[in-house]
């Protein structure tokens, strides 16, 4: 008896250890995603800028030292789509951001500054933009980077097969002259981008372009690597996932990875701005819950977006001597979308095949739902106040933000009940029926990984059931599976949770809200909605920022009335880095620029 007792204790403990170990791995594989949208958001967040300055001052204390390797953490695994033309998740972006570069990038104030191009000029009509490229830039395999690579990149995005192959970046090419002809297959070359010589490239736009710099700021890919692959096959080709074939110009080069665990990027010695100080950067996929412990033990050196330090852990992390933190308002936000259209196939553009999802067509229902969800509670309770409730999709950091423009739906069960009563949703037992008297249930899907978002899902279900809307909460999926799923038309999904992390400065939402945008996951289709967005970026009026502000106010109001999605909240990002890791440039939109200047104090 005694023997078996102890044996059992030992077995029990070892089982617990085994399960705990599994816990780490499995949860690592899961979680959130804001998808990375490269729209730009101008920002006049003084706090953020002050923070940056403080930090710069601190950083300049020590002399940079070469050597060492750092580990950075994210809580969901990338999709393993390392071809920049086809990536869509913020986790892949973490890797691509230090392996690839673009012609221009943005500084702390979201002004454009030189990247691969050292100079540029517009013609008087703002229809032509000519870039002078740096001449000593080489790809990770030693080949020189030239204007032909730039032409290749934009031509690939405009390719007739690009969207069908899974590309979501058409907004970077669609303003170029000759785009329509090329994408429809009528023209053999894309008129809008042209290499004048090896180091000069000219973009021509169909109309005066008010955000030409933003539109030409996409990652440049290597023609000698991808040139022979048909665009239709590019996303599936080995160059998208085989580390050796992921060739960029950035300071770090992806050399190997274990799927869902870690991604190793070695310094590129011949980097054109000088050999990076660090020998390597390792991205690890780590459960959000254990990140703080790893920070304390020096096991991870950097916590980046999405997510950063959980707000609940902020005080603990602040108290750690070996860790420095920095809280910035996020340009991204979380939302709950209605799936407005389903369909037999997954076509993004063929609206004729779309079948309206009758359950969510009623605006009154959507408005009632907005009143029923306790968004204030999410911010105060789940985020410990480190965030803002969103009423329109422009975060406070954006110049397009206007507090008074959108209709505000406060958390108000009574109001939600009133609206539902008026709209004919009658109580029948525990829940309401639809206006036709039929029972109806909304299916809600959500991903794992982002802990706050995970927690909101059961609360949303509870909130909605409190006003009589029956919600079927599906089991959470691992993030990349979730994002694959919400792209599909052929599902019974009615509601889903997701987030956008907005990587750049222009507030133009057409890249993901326009009914024809590949990122239009809710499959929302509304003429007025589209038109307002387009007017806001149509020259010549749109050169006037006040005009654009007005348009975005109109759009915000219309959107808050129609509610194609319910903006939930924007969570502050709390970046954290080991005190020995120096030289990081903190920008509102991202912190991965100039990673060749990062160094470890030894």
């Amino acid at each position: 008896m005694k023997k078996s007792f102890w044996l059992m204790i030992v077995l029990l403990l070892s089982l617990m250890v085994a399960l705990a170990a599994c816990g780490g791995n499995n949860e690592e594989g899961t979680e959130n995603g804001g998808n990375d949208v490269n729209n730009e958001v101008n920002n006049n967040n003084d706090d953020a800028n002050n923070n940056n300055n403080d930090n710069d001052a601190e950083d300049s204390d020590g002399e940079p030292q070469s050597g060492g390797s750092i580990t950075a953490a994210m809580y969901s695994a990338p999709d393993h789509q390392f071809n920049p033309l086809f990536y869509s998740s913020a986790y892949d972006a973490n890797i691509l951001d230090i392996a690839f570069e673009s012609l221009v990038k943005q500084d702390e104030n979201l002004e454009f500054i030189p990247g691969l191009a050292h100079d540029w000029e517009f013609n008087d009509e703002f229809t032509e933009l000519t870039y002078q490229l740096e001449e000593d830039v080489t790809w990770h395999d030693g080949e020189p980077m030239t204007a032909h690579d730039v032409v290749f990149t934009y031509t690939a995005i405009a390719d007739p097969d690009y969207v069908a192959a899974g590309g979501v970046r058409t907004n970077y090419a669609s303003t170029l002259a000759g785009y329509e002809e090329y994408v429809s297959g009528d023209a053999d070359t894309l008129e809008g981008v042209e290499a004048l010589d090896d180091y000069t490239v000219k973009f021509t736009f169909a109309e005066p372009n008010i955000k030409a710099l933003a539109d030409t700021s996409f990652f440049i890919v290597a023609e000698h690597i991808l040139g022979d692959i048909p665009v239709a096959e590019m996303a599936e080709h080995s160059s998208a996932y085989n580390a050796e074939e992921v060739i960029g110009t950035g300071p770090f080069n992806l050399t190997e990875y274990q799927e869902g665990e870690q991604y190793i990027l070695q310094a590129y010695e011949d980097y054109w701005q000088g050999t990076p100080y660090l020998d390597s950067v390792v991205w690890q996929v780590v459960d959000q819950a254990i990140m703080t412990g790893m920070l304390q033990n020096d096991e991870i050196h950097l916590l980046n977006r999405p997510g950063g330090v959980p707000a609940a852990d902020r005080e603990d992390v602040e108290a750690m001597d070996n860790v420095e933190i920095l809280e910035l308002q996020d340009l991204g936000y979380q939302y709950m979308a209605f799936k407005h259209n389903h369909g037999p196939n997954d076509s993004l553009t063929d609206k004729d095949s779309w079948v309206p999802n009758e359950k969510v067509q009623d605006v009154a229902l959507r408005q009632a739902i907005a009143h029923a969800i306790n968004r204030e509670g999410f911010v105060d309770g789940l985020m410990y106040g480190a965030g803002q409730v969103m009423h329109a999709t422009f975060p406070e950091a954006s110049w397009a933000y206007n507090e008074d423009a959108p209709i505000k739906y406060d958390y108000n069960e009574d109001r939600a009940n009133e609206i539902l009563d008026e709209a004919g949703y009658e109580w029948d037992g525990d829940f309401r029926t639809n206006p036709d008297g039929e029972e109806f249930t909304l299916n809600l899907d959500y991903p794992t990984g982002n802990e706050i978002r995970e927690r909101t899902a059961p609360i949303i279900q509870e909130n909605l059931q409190a006003v009589g809307i029956q919600v079927n909460l599906n089991s959470p999926r691992e993030a990349s599976a979730h994002f694959d799923r919400i792209e599909e038309n052929d599902t019974d999904m009615d509601l889903y949770l997701a987030g956008w992390s907005l990587a750049s400065g222009d507030p133009d939402p057409s890249g993901y809200f326009l009914s024809t945008a590949a990122y239009n996951y809710p499959r929302y289709d509304d003429e007025t909605f589209d038109q307002l967005m387009l007017e806001a970026i149509t020259a010549p009026d749109a050169f006037d920022q006040e005009y654009r502000e007005e348009k975005y106010n109109e759009w915000s109001e219309y959107m808050s009335e129609q509610l194609p999605v319910i903006p939930l909240y924007s969570q502050n990002v709390i970046y954290a880095h080991n005190a020995n890791l120096q030289g990081i440039t903190f920008k509102t939109h991202q912190i991965l620029d100039d990673s060749h200047l990062w160094y470890l104090e030894q």
Binding site: N26, T292, R455, I459
Partner: protein, 299 residues
């Protein structure tokens, strides 16, 4: 639970000559750990049954104003990260854990008994067919298989969870029963029954099963403990019963965060202890039963 009932009935019978079951009963009651196990399980079962009386809060009801509260008169064990009452979740969690443990055990046992007796009774082709199927199941790493199935399903409910567990854990009990039946097959009374023309079903039900009751009960008990651990483990890594359903595993999940682990022991120690106690108790009972049914052991 089921086991206890059997014992009560048996022990309340008037004293006659001692049947094997009565002998087993006596041996069992002399095992102090096993009796302690029974007491603990009785307590756990009554907590589960009287959960609505014990808990003053709805275990699924979030309260965003009171998130991660320390214990107070209102919330005896504080609240979790969504403001749900930890004590209520602990109490209701016993329902889910015990339900899953018990019914998954019954389900697995049913599959095991049917397949095991067919296999052991008929032998030959039936036997090799069933045993190869069992081998096939055993080849798959259990955890991986379960995780994959859970990941594919849109929605994991308690019923589905029990079914998945039963469909993946049946080979072990099947093998044990097949072995038992194989050894019984050549016994004289079986040959006797056969020779007087008993039907197969009658032989299995009347002669096989009663004689295999010892191994069945012992294995079923120990299996129940394993199944409770499996449920907690899967919930802990987020592949079990999804939130907001209260289960002990779901509660312990919160302790993955360093802050909860160090500053909120009240959130994870009680459910952890509950899992430990329940599983230990069931295993003690299982051990006691095994010793009791072992005819070679002394009174």
């Amino acid at each position: 639970m089921g086991i206890r009932k059997t014992e009560d009935v048996k022990s309340s019978q008037p004293e006659k000559s001692k049947s094997p079951l009565q002998l087993a009963m006596r041996r069992f009651l002399r095992n102090r750990l096993a009796v302690a196990g029974i007491v603990i399980i009785i307590i756990m079962v009554s907590i589960a049954v009287f959960a609505p009386l014990l808990a003053q809060h709805d275990p699924r009801q979030s309260d965003l104003i009171n998130v991660m509260q320390k214990p107070s008169g209102e919330n005896w064990l504080g609240t979790d990260s969504s403001g749900r009452d930890n004590f209520s979740r602990l109490v209701y969690g016993s329902q889910v854990s015990l339900l899953i443990g018990f019914f998954a055990m019954l389900f697995t046992l049913a599959i095991g008994v049917v397949l095991g007796s067919l296999s052991g009774f008929y032998g030959g082709k039936v036997d090799s067919l069933i045993m190869r199927a069992a081998d096939l199941m055993l080849i798959f790493p259990f955890l991986l298989l379960v995780l994959t199935v859970m990941a594919i399903l849109d929605r994991v409910t308690i019923g589905i969870f029990i079914t998945i567990i039963a469909l993946t854990t049946w080979p072990n009990i099947t093998r044990i029963l097949r072995g038992t039946f194989l050894s019984l097959r050549e016994k004289e009374y079986i040959i006797g029954a056969r020779s007087i023309g008993c039907s197969d079903l009658r032989i299995i039900v009347k002669h096989f099963l009663p004689n295999a009751i010892g191994p069945i009960i012992v294995n079923a008990t120990i299996m129940m403990a394993t199944l409770i651990i499996i449920e907690s483990g899967l919930s802990f890594i987020g592949f079990g019963i999804p939130q907001p359903t209260p289960t002990w595993g779901n509660m312990v999940t919160e302790a993955r965060s360093l802050r909860v682990l160090t500053q909120h022991p009240e959130a994870w120690v009680p459910p952890g202890l509950a899992i430990l106690l329940t599983v230990l108790a069931i295993n003690f009972i299982g051990d006691g039963l095994r010793d009791a049914f072992d005819t070679k052991s002394n009174m």
